[in-house]
Symmetry: C2
Subunit: 411 residues, 2 copies
Amino acid sequence: MSDASVAPGLPNPADFARPPTASDLARWAEVDASARPARVTRLRARFESAGIDAYFGLRRENVRYLTGFVLGEGEERVAGTSGHFLISGADVLLLADSRYTVQATAQAPEARVVDGPRDLAPGWADLVASVGAKRVGVEAALLPYAVWRRLEAAAPDVELVPIEGWVEADRAIKEPAEIERVAAACAIADRALAGLLASIKPGATERDLALDLEWRMRTGGAEAVAFDPTCLVGPNAALPHGSPSAAEVRSGTVVLIDFGAQVDGYRSDMTRTLFVGEPSERDLAIYGLVARAQAAAVAQIEATIDGELGLPSGRDLHGIATRLIEADGRFPAFGHGLGHGIGLATHEQPLLSATALDSSLPSPTVFSVEPGIYVEGETGVRIEDLILLDADTGRVERLTKFPRDVFALPD
Amino acid sequence: MSDASVAPGLPNPADFARPPTASDLARWAEVDASARPARVTRLRARFESAGIDAYFGLRRENVRYLTGFVLGEGEERVAGTSGHFLISGADVLLLADSRYTVQATAQAPEARVVDGPRDLAPGWADLVASVGAKRVGVEAALLPYAVWRRLEAAAPDVELVPIEGWVEADRAIKEPAEIERVAAACAIADRALAGLLASIKPGATERDLALDLEWRMRTGGAEAVAFDPTCLVGPNAALPHGSPSAAEVRSGTVVLIDFGAQVDGYRSDMTRTLFVGEPSERDLAIYGLVARAQAAAVAQIEATIDGELGLPSGRDLHGIATRLIEADGRFPAFGHGLGHGIGLATHEQPLLSATALDSSLPSPTVFSVEPGIYVEGETGVRIEDLILLDADTGRVERLTKFPRDVFALPD
């Protein structure tokens, strides 16, 4: 098998789609508003199986998905109970304190906005009674134990039923306008990286490059970054997790960049590993192997999308990529998962990993495929793209358009 | 009582302290390392009262405070159980998965770094047994209900005891090097705002200004922002919470800017309300009243710091500020709390509000004092400074140095 070789030309920002316009944003807002009733209906359809008559949620992504109310990343910490919601068979209640009332009313016109108290417990019995509920499903992976106990004590007649993963499973299946926004976020990231290339040269620090890249996304159409960009040079790239430091780009070594943009709530996530100066033969061998591991996982999806055996599981795909690296035998396979779903959250269902569900992937869905090889103290390579999978149309598409060639930047 | 009047000159970035140097950062790292044993000892001293023999924590700020391990804001979402910790009478265990092992070992040399599994439950009994614990205090305001139940089921012999507020109460009392970092974060924010003034003119959007301000902080010595900067113009300033929009600065109206920087983990938080063009008489009246409400709260601290009656409570101070506005009678008093402690978290103990504890403020401590007046659909004014209170030295100091004068920027 041949190792990778250096590509002739570099990408330009103009190679990628332009950022969304105000009219795109207006259209998405309309589409979301018309999609929300069906989302709520899907949630309610699960009530009977769990014997509940209402659902109490607080996950930031879920309140946006079901009601339209937007909290920024991390804003839950200061929002108190604003953004918590209670959905019964007939009602959608959205909690919002005085700071959020205007916003909640505008963003969630289908919901009844009620006061979001600092402490839920004192008004809990009345809140639940106002929708006539007796058994309330609660997002148990989110609600802290201490709060759960206070709600139980505040309304002993109301039974709390722990629920996990319902809305998360629904969110894994993407609507067309959700996919459009993930793709738009991908294009903003692609453009930003293409624009950054000229700054990646010996002497530039990881921190400088990460900040420059973030700035390019945020002035290039992203409303936010999907997460703090990671930029790791040389041996630092062997840390699968790592924060940008004052380490400088050096000739002949790798620059691993993992980053994403956010468009109207929806995120992208991509990783490219670039070279400054001539890559070593070992690094080219590693790059080629990572690229083949990624291609093998994507090829498996393409091969099964029309078949009778059904879609592969996240566990299957993880195994295909890791086994390819292990079979080669020269370098250690990655210890992290192969990928993850993405949408309103950077990491969501479906997961692609050794411990992921052994059931077929959902469809239509979007997830990352991001194999890597990390040689401690020496070098690291990861290549990450977002893949759209739509079994109904037989579509398997890379939403990340930045090429996966070996790029050797001038030193 | 006279209303406010316009100040003659504008602040310059050079008016404020310079950002910290690499040697400051190195010194803080050393001081933290030497402070951690005493912090852990204070935690252990509480074990007996609750009848526990170990403490299991997961709050991001607490793991940093007690062990030195650093997670970025929101990184808990992707870190899994990395950063969770278990402290017994003799041991400090820090969980870290393979992504975080190198970092954990370097940042938390006093801790024993153990594998941070994806799912806590399977290894929970062994983990607890490894420190010989039987009754484990757990941060119940953080641990989700679903996880709590899985831990109970995984080790029925181990009793879980809900604990809230222990480390948070300790963190409210600030060490000198913690105060230095909050002050350094304040100075970076002061400089950034002074640098932004020239860009605040008719036509600039809220979003442009917020991004510009963030950029100034992050290239001016801040490792991060304390939270997404808020910039609200004209009637938007009446929303006590509000996100920057495409609304433009207009002559004769207010620009309310609420923002903060982060230095070595420690945050600042300040609000200034500026004018573009000549302020209206009403806005000057509001500004003067808000400034007096803030001054009255600070004066009360100064008046009591040496007295025999002890320090005021957060509730007392909130009441002093709100009553002053109510007594004036022309405008509605703010509905939010007067202030909050700040340190590793933007919002922490002590709270200053109508529902805050009725006990004396801790000391030494740092908190915001941020009264406001909001006239819906018309205008809003808030002035927020960080105050250092140290009863032992009789010191009451504004760490926010940007003047509180009325600044009318050229239109």
